[in-house]
Amino acid sequence: MSAQKDCEFLVKKARELVSVDSCAAKAWLITARTLYPTDFNIQYEMYTIERNAERTAPAGRLLYDMFINFPDQPIVWREIGVITAALRSDSQDKHAQFLRGLFETLPGRVQCEMLLKATEQCFNTLEKAEMLLLLLKRFPESVVQHGLSLGETLLDAEASENVDTPVNCFRKLFVCDVLPLIINNMDIRLPASLMQKYILKAAEFYIGYVTRGPSADGQLQGSQDSGNLKSPSMSRGSQRYVIDGLSEKSSLVADPWERLLELLAVVGVRCEWQGDKGQRSFVDMLQRMKELCRYLPGLDGETRSRYCSQVVICGALTLFRSAFLYVSAVQPALFQGHGASSGPWILVEDLSSVYSDVDLDKGPVKHAQKKRKQADGREKTMSSDDEEGLGKGRGRHILVSKTEMPNWSETLEGFRAARESWDLLHSHDALEAEFKKICASWKTDSWLWFRIFLTDMIVFQGQYRKALSSLHQMSAVQQHQPGQQSPSGQGSLEHHRVLIQQASCHYALGEYRIFMVFDWIWMQTSTVPQEPVFFFSLLPGNDLRLLPCTNKAVLPFCFQLMLACFKLRAFADNRDDLSLGHVVVLLQYDWPQGEMLFLKSVDKIYHQGSFQYENFFNYVTNIDMLEEFAYLRTPEGGRIQLELLPNQGMLIKHHTVTRGITKGVKEDFRLAMERQVSRCGENLLSVLHRFCINEKIIIIQSLP
C-alpha cells in the first residue's frame, strides 16, 4: 500500500518537473524504476516524456520494455493502437512520422507480435485488414499463414457490405495489396480456378478504376492542369479521387494497366499458360491469343479448357484495354470531366465526295440501299457478329485529321485491337460463352463507355440498324446517368454526338431520315458551343473520316448530309425544283468545291426552261451563282423563266392581264439581284444556318 503511494508520489514529482527540468524528471523516474521495477505507471511516465519530446530511440526502447513487461496493460494497447493507426495512415504530419519512426526502432519480432495482437483487437474489417496487411508487407514469411484468409475476408466483406461498385475499399486492398503478396509467394498453393477468379476480380477493379467517371473534385482539379495530357491514363494521377473508406493517398492507384499486366504475367506463369513467358504488352498478348486460337479446334478435354480460359481472360483484357484507349480519345470527357482536352468525336459516314459528279455519286447510294436490304435480312437471321459483317468491316479506313487528333494512330490502333479482340472472343462458341459469363458478372451492359465502343464497332462493321438501336439505348443510358456523371454541358455534347451519329446511320441505310440534324442545328441557336466537336465520317464501302465537331465542322457535315439527300431528287428524271433549289443553296458552302454540281444544276434548269425557287433571294448570296442565274434570263442564256421571288408566280399572272407585263417583272428581278449583290459579304454560315432553322419544315418535308 505504502509502496503504491510512493510510486504515485514519485510519478507526480516527475510530472511536475517535466516542464521545468526534464532531466531532473527523468532522473526521478530512473530512480523510481530501480525502486519499483514492476510498477507500470513509472515506465509509462518515462515513455510519455520521451514520446512527448518525440525522441524516437528512447521512446522506442521504453515502448519495447512496456510491451515485454506489461503485455496486458490496456494503456499499452491504446498506445500501440495509435501507432498502428499512424502506420496505416498516409498523414505526413510530424507526429505521425514520429510514431512511424518509433515503430521502426522496435525489433522485428516485436513489430510482428504487436501487429498480430493489434489485429486481434480490431473489430472493423477494413482496419483489421489494413493492420494485417502491414504485417504481411513487413514480414513476408507471414503471408503463407495469413495471406489467403485475408484475401477471402476482404472478398467476403465486399459481398456482405453490398457495395455497388468494384472500385471499393475492400477490393482495392485485395487487388492492389493482398493479391500481389499471395500470388508472388510460391509457397502458397493456388488452384488455377482460384487464380482465374482472382485475376478477374483484379481486372474488374482496375477497369472500373480506370474508367470511373470524373469526380466533382477531379473536375476542378482537371480543369487547371489539363494543358498537356499525354495520355488518358497519365492524367489519372492529377485527379483527386477517394475510394470510400480509404484515404486519398491509398485511393490512388498508379499505372493500373501495367499492374494488371504484371498480375496477369504471374498468373500466366503459375497457371502454366501456353507460350506465356511474362506478358510484355497487351498488343503482344493479342497476337499470341490469335495464334493460340488456331489450335483450339484441335484440342479437347482439360487442355482445351485451359486454352479457353487463357484466351478468354487475355482476350477480354485486351479488348477492354484497347476499347478504353479508343473511347478515352473519342470521349475524353467521360473520364476526365470538364478538364478534357478535347470534346467528343463522332463516327459518321464520310461525305467528302458529295460534291463529286452525280453519276459517280449515285453508285454508293445505291450500294447503300442494297446493303440496307442485306442488313435487314441479316438482322432477322443472324447474330450481329456474323462473318459478313466482319468482312465488311475489313478494308475500311478511318480518316482523321492528324493535326486535330495528335494521338490519332494510338486511337485507331486501339479501335482496331479492340475490334480484333472482340472478333477473337466470338470466334468459338466456347470462348463466347466464357466471355459472356465475364460480361454478365461485370455488368458490362451498364458501361456507357463500352457501349460507345460497341456502337462504333457496329457502325464500322456496317450494321447500321443495330447501331441505331444501340444509339437509342445509349441515349436512354445517358438520361439515367447520375447528374454528376454528365453535367449539363457534357450531357448536351453527348446528346449531339448521338444525334449526329443517328443521322449518319440513317443516311447510310438510305433512309434519309436525317431530320435529327435539325434538332442539333436548332440546339446550336440556344447554346453555341465554341469547343470543337469531332466526329467520324463513314460512307458505306468508302473510307471513314474523323472530323472536329465544332459548329464549324458539324454544320458543314449537316450541309453535306442534306446535300447528299437532296442531290438524289434534284437530279432525278422528274423535275423537283424545290430540291434543286436546296442543292444550290447548300452548294454555296465550301464554294467552289461544288462548282461541277452547280453547273450541272444550271444545265438542268436550262433544259427545263424554267425554274421556281422562291427562297432563292433569301439564301443565295454567292456572286458566281447570282451571275449565272442572271445570265440564264438573258437571251444568250436561253431566256429561262426564273421565278425566284416570293409570290412571283402570282405577279406574272397579274401582269399578263395588263400591258408591259414583262417589264415590271424584269424590273423586280433586277432590283432583287442588285440588292442581293450587296448581301454578298454576309456571313455564309449564318445565312445557311438561318436556312436550316427557318426552312426546317419545308426541308424535312422535301427529304426523299
Binding site: 510512493d6 508520489f9 514519485l10 532531466c23 525502486l35
Partner: protein, 451 residues
Amino acid sequence: MGDIRQSLLPRDVLSAAKELLYHLDIYICNLVQSGRQPPQVDSKTLDLIEEFILHAPKDRNAPARRMSALQELQLLEIMCSCFQEQSRDTVRQLMFSALFGLQGNAADESRMALLGKLVSMAVAMGRVPILECAATWLQRTHRVYCVRLAQVLVDDYCSMVPGSVPTLQNIHSASPRFCCQFITAVTTLYDLTTEELTPPIELLQMIVSWIQEDPRLVLITFLNTPLTGSQPINSLDVTPLGGLVRWCVKAPLAYKTDKKQTPTHERSENVPEVGPLFSTLHLSVLQVLMLLPNILNEKGLFGRMGLLQLDSLAALTSELSRLLDQADKHAHASDAHAAPQLALDRLAQALQVAKANGALLCSRGRNLEAVLFLFRPSRLGKVESKIKTVKMRKMLVKHASKLYPHFCIISVFSRINYFDFHSSNNVLLIHKLLEHCKQLVFLLLLNKSVC
C-alpha cells in the same frame, strides 16, 4: 646502452636528445624482440634520459644543460613523429613509460613539464598514439600527477587561449580512452570546494556534451582494463562516476555560494546557466549506471565490484553536510530550500540507482525504500503533532542508521529540508536533528567497517 653517453656529451642539446631517442627506439625494439618478460628498461638508460632529454642536473657541480624554447619545441616535434611512426604498440608504450614514468626523483618535475607540453601538443595535432600512451600513463600514475596533467590541458585549452576549446573537444573522437581518463582526472581535480576548484564552464559544457552523446564513454577504461585486480595504489578511479556524482550533488550548493559573490547581472552575460548542465550531467550519470548490470554480468562482476567507492561517498556526505550547514546560515532567500533539496535529491537518486545496478556494494540492506520513504514531504505533512514527529524521526533515524548507515544520513538531511519547507516553526528542532546527523557522520567516518 650506457656506453653511448660519451658520444652524446660533445653534441649540442638538441642533437644529443635526438640521438638518444634514436638509440632508445632501437634499444626497446631489441628488448621487445628478445622476449624477456617483463621487458624492463635498465636504470642506465633511464639515467641517460634524465640527463639528455629531461636535463635534470646530474650532480650539483655540473652545469645544467638547458634547451631554448625553440629547441624544446623541435624536440617535442621529434618525439611526436617518433611515436607516430612507431607502429608497434608495445614499443610505444615502453618508450613512453621510459620517458615519462615517474621515478620519484628530482627529474620528475622536468618529466611532468615535458609530458604536459607533449600531450598538449598531441591534442592540438591529433596525435592519437601519444594520446593512447597518455591514457595508459593516467591509469598507472598517482592521481596527484594525473590531476596535474589534466590541469595543464585545461589551462592550455580552456583558460589561456580563448576559442581553443573545440580542439580539446576532438579528443573524444581521437582517443576515447584518453578522453575518459581526462574526465576522471578533471573530476578529481575540481572537487568544488573552492572557486579555483570549480570547473570552467567551457570544460563543463564539453564534458556534458561528450557524455550525453555517448554515455558509454565514461566506462571505456573500465571496459578495456583487464581485471588483473591490482590497481596501482592511489591511481585515479577506474571510472569518473564518483567524481561526476560529486559534481552533480555539490553543484547546487557550491554554485549557490559562488553566485552570491558575483553580482548577478555580470554572471548572466554570455555565460550559460550551469543548472541545466548539471541536471543533464546527473541524468547521464544515472543512465550510465543503468548500463552497468549488463556489463558487470558479462564480466561476471555483478555484486563483486563496485564502481562507486563507499569511502568517497562517505567523504561526499560529510562535505555535503558542511555545505548544508553553510546554506542553512544563508537561508534567507525564498528559494533557500531548493538548492539543498536538489543536492540531496541527486545524492539519493545516485545512491539508489547505483546500488540497484550494482555500482555500489552494500553489505547490508537490500533496498532503499526506507530512505525514499523519508523523502516524502506529504507524509511528513500529515503528522500533526510535533512531538510525534520528532519521536518518529528519532525512531526512524535510529532504525535507519542501523540498517543503512550511509543513507540514513541523507534521509535525515532531506527530511530536514522538507520539514523546513513545510513548517518554519521547526527550525530549532531541525538544528537539533542536524547535530544528530553530524554525530552520525562522524560515527560513520570513524567506523567505516559498519558497512
